[in-house]
Symmetry: C2
Subunit: 71 residues, 2 copies
């Protein structure tokens, strides 16, 4: 499991929980599958740019905000 | 071709050229295939987080820097 995947997953979880969204709620907003969200948050998936874009739009954030982390 | 792919491709080309690197040079530094770099820059590939991480390391930048754009 790549370190960057783990870091991104933790950041996504943080951003999702800040908005009091469930994985299901975020999946619905982003047009993605709930299990995919869970896999990403556990660092088990190598997310693509398009999925990141969908998640950023669903969260109402800029793609850059995903990477405001110490990594 | 997704808009976000096109935007990322242009940004990657900009960052690469700022460092006077050829596609071949960047591919070598990042451990990626040169044709893959060309495809990404033309917006023809849906790049993954791990490839972004390899490119950021090769360019000596933070992942966040890829997304300092008006998109």
């Amino acid at each position: 499991m790549a370190k960057v995947q783990k870091a991104f997953g933790s950041r996504l979880r943080e951003l999702r929980q800040e908005q009091c969204l469930t994985q299901e709620g975020l999946a619905h907003l982003a047009g993605l599958n709930r299990t995919y969200i869970g896999d990403i948050e556990r660092g088990e998936k190598n997310i693509t740019l398009e999925s990141m874009d969908k998640l950023a739009r669903a969260l109402g954030i800029n793609l850059r905000d995903f990477f405001d982390w110490e990594y």
